[in-house]
Each structure stands twice: as C-alpha cells, then as structure tokens.
C-alpha cells in the first residue's frame, strides 16, 4: 500500500550569530549548513494496518509525514501509495489520502461546520448520494450532529478534532494520516477518538499512519510501530517484539515500614548492576523499583527484597510501553 524507499530530506539552515549584530552580519555574509532531517528511511505499510510512527521531538517524524502527504519534496528517495507518486501527480495522489494535523485545522474558521463539508465535497468531487451516506456514517462514528451547525471558531478542541477527522475522511481515502490527533484532549475525548479511528479502520480497511506522543494511542490502536530518531529508523516491528527486545524491564511495587529502603536494599550494590538496570522511587511507604529482568531474575529480586525489609502488599508488573520508549529515547540520545 505505502512504499517508502530511502527517503531523504535535507534543509539548508542559515547560521546566525546571536543578537542584532549577528543578524545584520548574516545579512551580508550569509553562512549556511546542510541539515539532514531525514536520513534514507525505508518502510512498507500493508493495507488496513494502523502504523504507530513515533520518535522524540525533532526526530524528523513530521518531515516524513509531510513528504508522504506531498507537502514537502524529498531530496532523494521515493514514496508511493498504491503506486502513485505525489511528485508525478499530486492531485490524484491526495485523493487517496486524508490528513489531520492535530495542531492545525483545515476547517473554514468563520463558517458553520457543515459549510466545510459542502466545499470539501466539491473539491473531492464526491457525488451527492455518496456524500449523504458518508455524512451519515461519519455522524454516527464521530457524533458531529450536536455541533454541525455551529461556526467552527466556537467548537471545543475535542469537537474540532472530531470535525477535522471527519473532514479528512469525507472522500473515503485509502490512507489516513493522523499527526497527533489526541494532543491536548481530555481522557474521555481521547478515548472516543481512538474508538472512532479503530472503527473506521475495521469497517473500511483504511490504512492509518499515526504519530503521537501519547503512547496509549499507539498501544491501543496499532500492532506495529516505526520509531525514528535523528532522521533514522531505529525500530520497525511489532509492539510485542519491542517489548521482548527492550522490555525486560519489570516494575516491583511494595510497601514497607523501613525508614530508608533505598539505603537498606542497595540493589545496585547487591546485584552488582548499573543504575540503568535498576531504579528506585519512594513515595511515603510505597516503593517502586524498576529493574531489568535480564540482569536480575524476578525470583531473585523478590526473595532478596522479602529477606531484606519488612514488606506488605507486593506486586510485580510488566513495564509498559511508555517505560520502554523512555529507555529507548534516552539510549538513542546518549
């Protein structure tokens, strides 16, 4: 469905010395350097998949998405959707895709929401009967009814996001790009939006590329993630693989009366492991230990802890994806 091969984007960046003096100097002697925002990224996405596309701020996620949506011209490499290339025929390419940028709206700001759909219908040449059916479907999934006659500027962020998603789906695109669709939303609205995305994906086999900083989005929606950092692909695979590859982290939580459990237990000293593999947090009586089960088996951890301090209410959990990503981002940075 989506084929990305050796996609690369370079920007020219002017370097300025700080201050007004620097700005003036650069006006006469401009200095610039080449910044490689995306370094030869390749991946494929099959039809109907929800791909989680993640990476720290400034990793090049948006640049990749913008190349895939035909906004930016790649320096080299190709991306195609259904064999169509945005550089060859942008207009026919964008008919296949829907795009939502969480931070920007494509709705007509001053007019009632319904007007936006009317214009998009014409733009994408959706026939009347299909338009009716489509609006009924989107209404059902995204619950637009209550605010479809309100001017867009009066919508709440959650309503606006639903409206934006509906706008991007009006022409039944085969691929939907969602760039931070849940940014700034409350828990309930986030949940609704996730359900809607899942529903549309299930119902219509829409391929979804999702970028987000809320890893719950990814965990709930996608089976596969691509993670990039500094413009390169650092992980591409199933979330389950990610967990087994990086996710030997476990979380041990217990309560103890010990005044200074960190000192008493001294895991790092005892097991002779580094801080990276074991961290400890205290919150009153509650102690949270994150440790790498590859270097210290869970059983040893448990028996040592139980022997060393007086423990009540103990539990061991799988580290969630967030923890893994945190380690990955940190690891990548170092």
């Amino acid at each position: 469905m989506i084929h990305v091969e050796k996609l690369r984007k370079e920007f020219k960046k002017t370097i300025k010395d700080p201050g007004l003096k620097g700005s003036i100097k650069s006006l006469f002697h401009p200095k610039s350097e080449k910044v490689v925002a995306v370094k030869d990224i390749s991946f494929d996405v099959p039809r109907g998949e929800i791909l989680g596309f993640i990476g720290p701020n400034g990793a090049g996620k948006s640049t990749v998405i913008k190349m895939l949506t035909g906004i930016l011209t790649p320096t080299s490499g190709v991306c195609t959707i259904n064999g169509k290339n945005p550089r060859e025929n942008r207009k026919s390419y964008v008919k296949e895709i829907g795009v939502v940028f969480g931070q920007r709206t494509q709705l007509w700001w001053d007019l009632p929401l319904r007007e936006t759909y009317g214009v998009l219908k014409e733009m994408y040449e959706v026939p009347d009967d299909r338009y009716k059916k489509r609006m009924a479907f989107l209404n059902e999934v995204l619950e637009l009814d209550s605010f479809i006659t309100s001017p867009v500027r009066t919508l709440s962020l959650g309503q606006r996001m639903r409206a934006d998603i509906a706008a991007s789906l009006l022409h039944s695109p085969k691929v939907l790009f969602l760039d931070e669709p849940t940014i700034g939303l409350d828990v309930v609205v986030k949940d609704n939006i996730r359900k809607a995305i899942e529903h549309i994906n299930r119902e219509e086999q829409t391929t979804v590329i999702l970028t987000t900083h809320d890893l719950a989005d990814i965990e709930l929606l996608s089976k596969r993630i691509v993670m990039i950092d500094k413009g390169s692909n650092v992980f591409d695979g199933a979330i389950a693989d990610l967990k087994s590859k990086y996710g030997q982290m476990r979380e041990l939580v217990f309560e103890t009366d010990d005044p200074d459990p960190s000192e008493t237990l001294g895991y790092c000293r005892h097991f002779n492991i580094s801080e990276d593999d074991c961290t400890l947090e205290c919150e009153g009586k509650r102690v949270k230990v994150r440790f790498n089960s590859a270097s210290v088996p869970v059983s040893e951890m448990l028996s040592y802890t139980l022997a060393a301090v007086n423990v009540s209410d103990i539990s061991v959990k799988d580290a969630d994806i967030e923890e893994i990503i945190r380690r990955l981002y940190k690891g990548v940075d170092a």
Partner: protein, 266 residues
C-alpha cells in the same frame, strides 16, 4: 473543457463561501462597505481637484488622461477583488506553514489560493474606474466600431492578468525566502506609473514599465488604441501576449517554488 468547468464551479463555491463569511460578521461588513464608499468619494474629489487644474498633459487632453486613469483602475480592481489572497502568501501563509493545507487538496494550489478570498474593498476601485470611464467617454471624440468595442472588452481580463501574474511571480519568491510581501509591494506599486500616459515619463521609466514590469499594458497602450486608433496590433495584440507570458511565468515560478517549500515545524 471539463477541467475548466470544474474550475469555474470551484470558483463559484469559494465566492459563495466568502460572501457567507462576510455576512457572518455583519457589523464589520457594513462598516467596511460604508468605509470604502467614503474613501472613494474622497478619492474622486481629489482627482477632480487635480484634473481641473491641469488642462492638458504632453498632448493628452484632460479627458483622455482621466479616461486612462479610470481605465487603469478596472483591471487593478478586478485583480484586487478576485486574487488578493496572493499577498497573504507573501506575508504569512508560507512563513507560518499554512501552505500545507493547499498541498493536501486535489485542487491546483495557485488556483485555490487565488480564489479563496474575495476582497470587496476592490469595488471602490472598480466603481471609480467605471465611473471615470463613463463620464469621460461621451466627451471624447472616439470613432466606435464593433471590433473596437469587442477588443476593448476583451483586453480587460488580459490587463487584469498582468497584475495577477506579477503578484504570482513575486509572491512565489516566498517559497524560497519565506517572506516576500515587501517584494510584491515593491513591484506592485510600480503600477502607479501606469495610471498616466507613459509619454510623460523619461525613457528609463518608460522602458521599465513597458518591458520589465509591463504595467504600461494594463491601461496606457489599450487606451492609445481605444482613444486614437493607433497600432491595434501592438496595443492590443502585445497586451494579450505579454499578459499570457507574465502569467505563464508566474505559474512556472509558482510550481518551482512548491518544490522548495519547507513548511514550518509543528
């Protein structure tokens, strides 16, 4: 043909959308209309004062000068009315990354940008222009023919496209330098020279507004033909050619610019 029909349909939709937008803010709309009417009355008064003081100008009678002045306002007003959004490309849209939106839609980006806004202030120029032409025409001894009427009307959209083309070229520079509003302004303001017979200027100015920034073709040359029947091939023919060339260059630069577009971080 189908393509063109679709463009007209899209254009109509955008215009209707704009009109709805204007009525959404009724107060602003009414004040805007009253404001531009007042401005035009002041403008006319000012012109009247100037032209009653100047009996003729380098062989051009006052009526002829006023006709050229009025004629020049018609294409300028049309461009201003229909394609004003290009200014925003130069000042904001590219710099802020808002151009993204146009690139994700299955409509030609230049067309989409051009027709998205309707600038009703332009009615001021249009009405003034039409009024000046209508007032001066009966007082001028013009030999009319069907051909001349047809050519005079035909040339107006081409004159308009000279404005639009120059704006397109200069606005598209923003794709490389991020902000080109002042570049548009610099070139656009040259049109002020084109409101008067170009024979009143020295050779350098004349050369520039004829061949470099061809605003002389937006009013003076067509008027020479209409008023004095001189050289229709040059006056009308070249206007059409130059207009087409300027617009073609605009479209070319625009599409080259899109490849250089860098969006903005989000």
């Amino acid at each position: 043909m189908k393509q063109i029909k679709r463009l007209f349909r899209m254009h109509r939709i955008f215009v209707v959308q704009e009109l709805k937008r204007m009525t959404e803010y009724k107060g602003d709309f009414i004040v805007g209309v009253v404001g531009f009417l007042l401005a035009q009355v002041a403008n006319l008064l000012f012109l009247w004062i100037i032209f009653t003081q100047v009996p003729d100008l380098m062989g051009w009678s006052m009526n002829e000068v006023v006709f050229i002045y009025g004629f020049s306002l018609i294409p300028k007003g049309l461009d201003h009315l229909l394609f004003d959004n290009l200014w925003n490309i130069g000042f904001f849209i590219v710099r802020k990354g808002d151009f993204d939106k146009y690139l994700t839609r299955p409509v030609d980006t230049l067309f989409h940008v051009m027709v998205e806004k309707l600038q009703i202030d332009a009615f001021g120029e249009l009405l003034t222009g039409i009024a000046l032409v209508c007032v001066t025409l009966p007082q001028l001894a013009i030999s009319w023919s069907v051909l001349k009427v047809a050519l005079a009307l035909l040339v107006i959209p081409f004159c308009t496209l000279i404005y639009t083309g120059i704006k397109t070229i200069t606005a598209a520079i923003a794709f490389w330098v991020k902000r080109s509003g002042n570049i548009i302004y610099m070139f656009y303001m040259v049109h002020d020279f084109a409101k008067y017979p170009v024979t009143i200027y020295n050779n350098a100015v004349r050369f520039v507004i004829t061949y470099i920034i061809p605003f002389a073709f937006t009013a003076y040359f067509p008027a020479v033909y209409i008023l004095r029947d001189e050289n229709p091939l040059f006056c009308i023919g070249l206007t059409v050619l130059i207009s087409a060339a300027v617009m073609a260059l605009g479209i070319f630069v625009w599409h080259r610019g899109i490849s250089a577009y860098e969006s903005a971080g989000s």
